[in-house]
């Protein structure tokens, strides 16, 4: 079953309070050397049939209309190699 992945990230200029919370927690747990954390979302879409350009275009439309909010987020679409 082919899988298409949509990664959604807050735009660089948008504050990411969740990422900041994770960044703050890391040193308290003894992890050092991390200077920034941004938290996003990953969607794994299982598809029927072949992943054609049309299908990828459809996935991009899904990402634009529902999976992301283009006002505050960017997204990337990638195809997961089948095992």
């Amino acid at each position: 079953m082919p899988k298409v992945v949509v990664d959604v990230m807050p735009k660089p200029e948008i504050l990411d309070p969740q990422g900041k919370a994770v960044l703050g927690a890391l040193p308290r747990l003894g992890f050092s050397g991390v200077t920034d954390v941004r938290q996003g979302k990953r969607f794994e879409l299982e598809l029927t049939g072949e992943v054609t350009d049309d299908v990828l275009e459809q996935v991009r439309q899904m990402a634009e209309t529902l999976l992301s909010n283009p006002v505050i987020e960017n997204f990337e679409v990638s195809v997961e190699p089948t095992a």
């Binding site: 200029e13 504050l15 309070p17 919370a21 529902l66 006002v71 505050i72």
Partner: protein, 222 residues
Amino acid sequence: MRVGVVTFPGSLDDVDAQRAVRVGGHEAVALWHGDHDLRGVDAVVLPGGFSYGDYLRCGAISRFAPVMSEVVDAAGRGMPVLGICNGFQILCESHLLPGALIRNDHRKFVCRDQRLRVENNQTPWTSSYAERAEVTIVLKNGEGGFVADEETLDRIEGEGQVVARYLDDNPNGSLRDIAGITNDRGNVVGLMPHPEHAVEALTGAGTDGLGFFTSLAAHTFA
């Protein structure tokens, strides 16, 4: 006037909003998220809460509820629409209002009596207020930080689309202390504080929120 209040799965403040509509002198009409029907109302309130569990993003699923396509069409024809808190988030996700609302910058849920200044008293929801009126209205949100790009912020400031601004402390990191905005046409208003909880002296800090519900009549019949 007949004022519809939409109930989504996870709405919390729909009954309070209905009550505020009645206290404001109107007939409250319950609307259901799953219906393609506004039941002939003259205005619509999208209430606060956690519609669809705030899954994905606040308001992101509600935007596609059947009733919302009717609300978007009606708003396009000039019907007054007020979104409070989660309702504001839904209006932004629906692109009826510019910008978006993100998690509070301090990451905590905030619940308090909030001082505000009404910056635009020309909308159908704010015409009862004096120019630059300062009011206290309860605020309760976890994701109330209003954000938009600089160009959009400059535009809405320039066009008088900022409806209310936080005074004293900014409670959630909203850019330029913005608490509420309106669209180009001025009929759609989104507001993070909860005027429907500030309409009776018995409960809450006072009755400063009542103006949002009495404005409708003043505006329409002026």
